[in-house]
Chain length 371, copies 2
C-alpha cells in the first residue's frame, strides 16, 4: 500500500523518519562474533532462534559465522527461511492440524526440517504427513525441564514418546528439546544457574533413560540468551537456541551479569521523536505500543538516565522527566525495546545503520507469519 | 513472501487455519447499526476512528452508514484511506518533522485533511507546509480535558493557540480536539460519567472563551466507545471519534454497562488451536502475544467460562482449567482479544465470516503504518 519507508540506504541517520526500527550494525556484528567466540572449540553448536529477527539477512550471517541453521516457531516462518536458502531448520513447536502439516512436509525436500512432539497423536499425524509427501522429518521429544508449558515429563513419558517416534515410518528420532524459557529472565546469575542445573539434570536423566533402551539421542537442544553458558558447559546439551543475543533487549539488559557472562550489547533501537511538549513535566514521543511491544515492560530511553518512558498508548509514549529543560519538541531519542521479538514483528524492515549512515534496509520477511 | 492465508472466501469456518483474526460479520454489522441508531436525529456526527481497524473496507461501511469520514493517528494511515476514497480524514495527532509534513500536505488535494496542534512550533510548520503545497489544512487545537497526555490547558492557552491557527495562511481553525482516553476504561458508569462531566466543562469553557474572541469553533470533537453517549448529549461536542465499538474487545467488555448504554457485542476473535496437552491441568494454544496483544491484559476464551487464558508467550498461550476433560488436543477455541487495536495491527487480513462460511478477506491495509 501507499505508505513509505523510514529511510533509504545512503541516507544520513539524522534523516530517518520516526518511529523506525534501527539496527546498529557495528553492535550487531560484535554480538554475532561474541557468540561465535563463546562456542568456538566446544562440542556444542548454535541453532540461532529466528523468531527474534524473522529476517533472512540475519539468518544468513548467523550461518556464515558457524550456526548449523535456525530454529523458528511457525511453519510459515520456516517456509520463508527455506526460500532464503537456510538448509537446516527446526520448528521448536508442536505443529497441529492437516493444513499446517501439508505445508510443513514438502519443506523437507529442500532443507532438513525438524519439529517437536509432546503427544502420541502428534507423532501419528507427523508420520502420516511425512509418508504422504515421501519425506523424512526430524522429530524431537519436547521435555518439560522446568518451564511448565509444553513438553512431557522427564523420564518414562519421554522414553515412551521417543520409542514411538523412533518406530514411526517417515520420522527420524532426532533427540530432545529441553528449553527452559522462564529461566532466561531470572534476574540474578545464581537464580539462573540453579534453574538450569535442574534442567540439565532432567535432560541428562531422560537422555540416559532413552539410550538405555537402545535409542540414540543425537541432540539435546535448548537454551537461550540468558542461560546458554550453563547449557554449553553441561556435557548434556549439544545444541543451543539463543536468539535475542543479536539485539539484546531491555529485559535481557536488566539481568544481572554473572562472572564470565558474555557482554552482549544493545543493537536494536526504536528511533522516536518528541511530538508533544505541552507541559514542563511531560514529553510525548511518537512511539507507542504499536512501535515497541510492552509485554515485557516499557522501553528504556537509550543513554538518557534523566528520562523515563512511563506509559504507552497505541501511538504515544509518555516520558517523565524531573528537568523541564531536559527535552524539547522535535528532539529525537532512541528507545531500547522491552522485548525484541514482538517489537521486530511490528515492522516491515530493519533500518541498518553504521556510524552516521543508513547502510541497508533488511526486510523482516517472516513478519506476521503466524500459521 | 511465501506464507499463506488462513482461509479463502467460500471456505467453511471449520477449515480456517489458526491463529487467524476472525470478524463475525453479523455481529459487526449489528454494531455498525447500533452506532448509527444512537446518533440518528442528534446534532452530532460520527468520525469513526480507523486506528482500530486500519481497514478501508470497514471505513467505507462506516461512511455508508453516516460517518462523515474517519480519524486516524498517522500520516501513513491517512494516505491509505485517501487512496481508498475516504474524503474527510482527521489525523488525531501532532505531526512532527518535515518528512511527515511533506507527505501530509499533498493529501489535502484529494481529501479534507485535518490535524492537531498543541504547540506554536507545530502551527508554524503546518502553515509552511500548507503554503508550500498550496493546500489548506484543517487544524484543531488539542485541549487536555483530563487525559494528561497531549494538549494545551483549557482556557487561555487554547485561546492563544486558536488565534495563531486562525491567523496562519494555509490553515483553517477547525475547532477543538477534546479526547479523554483514560476515561474510556473506567469500569463503573459513574466513574466514566464523572470524568466526562469534567471534560465537557473544560471543552465548553474553552470553546466559549475562543468564541468570545470572535473566532468560530466549528467543531468540538472527541469521545470513544466507553463514553460517547455523554459527549453526544453534552450540547458541546458535535463530533464523536469512537472506533472500538465495531469490534468490542475484552477490555471494553469488562466495563460495567450503565443504564441506556448501547449493547455492542464482541465481533472480533482470534481463532486458535490447542496444540499441547501434556498435563491434565494445562492446555497450550497456538495464539500467543504475537497473535493477540496483551497490553490491556489477557484475552478471554469466548463462551468458555471454564477456561482461563492465564499467560502469553510469543507464540503460546497457556490455558488453566480445573477440569482435565474440558479441552482436548486439537480443539479449536475463539479468543476475545484484550485490546483490539494492536491485535488487528498484527495481521495482514481479517477473515470475515457469516454463519458457517468465510465470506471475504479484508486487507488490514494500514497495518504497520507507523510514519
Amino acid at each position: 500500500m501507499s505508505y513509505w519507508k523510514a529511510a533509504q540506504p545512503g541516507d544520513p541517520v539524522v534523516a530517518i523518519d520516526t518511529p523506525a526500527l534501527v539496527l546498529d550494525l557495528d553492535a550487531f556484528e560484535r554480538n554475532l562474533q561474541r557468540m561465535a567466540d563463546a562456542l568456538r572449540g566446544r562440542n556444542v553448536r548454535l541453532r540461532a532462534h529466528a523468531k527474534s529477527h524473522k529476517c533472512p539477512e540475519i539468518a544468513l550471517r548467523q550461518v556464515a559465522l558457524g550456526a548449523v541453521g535456525i530454529c523458528c516457531q511457525k511453519v510459515g516462518e520456516a517456509a520463508v527461511f527455506v526460500e532464503a536458502g537456510i538448509g537446516d531448520i527446526l520448528v521448536t513447536n508442536q505443529v497441529m492440524g492437516d493444513a499446517k502439516l501439508r505445508r510443513l512436509a514438502p519443506l523437507a525436500r529442500k532443507a532438513r526440517i525438524g519439529v517437536l512432539a509432546d503427544h502420541p497423536q502428534q507423532v501419528q499425524a507427523l508420520a502420516a504427513a511425512a509418508q504422504a509427501h515421501a519425506v523424512t522429518l526430524d522429530v524431537y521429544a519436547e521435555v518439560n525441564v522446568g518451564a511448565n508449558r509444553c513438553g512431557v515429563a522427564p523420564g518414562d513419558e519421554a522414553v515412551q514418546l521417543a520409542r514411538q517416534i523412533a518406530g514411526s515410518a517417515g520420522l527420524r528420532f532426532a533427540g530432545l528439546q529441553c528449553y527452559h524459557g522462564p529461566a532466561q529472565h531470572l534476574r540474578s546469575p545464581q537464580q539462573r544457574a540453579a534453574a538450569i542445573k535442574e534442567a540439565i539434570a532432567a535432560a541428562r536423566m531422560t537422555r540416559d533413560a532413552i539410550e538405555a533402551c537402545g535409542i540414540a539421542v543425537e541432540r539435546v537442544t535448548g537454551a537461550g540468551t540468558g542461560t546458554f553458558l550453563h547449557e554449553r558447559d553441561s556435557g548434556v546439551f549439544n545444541e543451543l537456541q539463543a536468539g535475542s543475543y543479536i539485539f539484546l533487549d531491555r529485559d535481557y539488559g536488566d539481568n544481572e551479569r554473572g562472572e564470565g557472562d558474555v557482554p552482549f550489547e544493545h543493537a536494536l533501537f526504536v528511533r522516536t521523536t518528541v511530538m508533544s511538549r505541552a507541559t514542563p513535566q511531560r514529553a510525548i514521543v511518537d512511539a507507542g505500543l504499536k512501535a515497541s511491544s510492552v509485554d515485557s515492560g516499557m522501553p528504556a530511553v537509550w543513554q538518557r538516565p534523566d528520562l523515563r518512558y512511563v506509559k504507552a498508548a497505541d501511538e504515544h509514549g509518555v516520558l517523565a522527566t524531573a528537568d523541564a529543560a531536559a527535552v524539547s519538541l522535535g528532539d529525537v531519542l532512541m528507545l531500547v525495546p522491552g522485548h525484541c521479538d514482538p517489537t521486530v514483528n511490528l515492522y516491515d524492515e530493519l533500518v541498518c545503520v553504521r556510524g552516521d549512515s543508513v547502510e541497508a534496509l533488511w526486510p523482516v520477511a517472516a513478519r506476521g507469519a503466524l500459521l
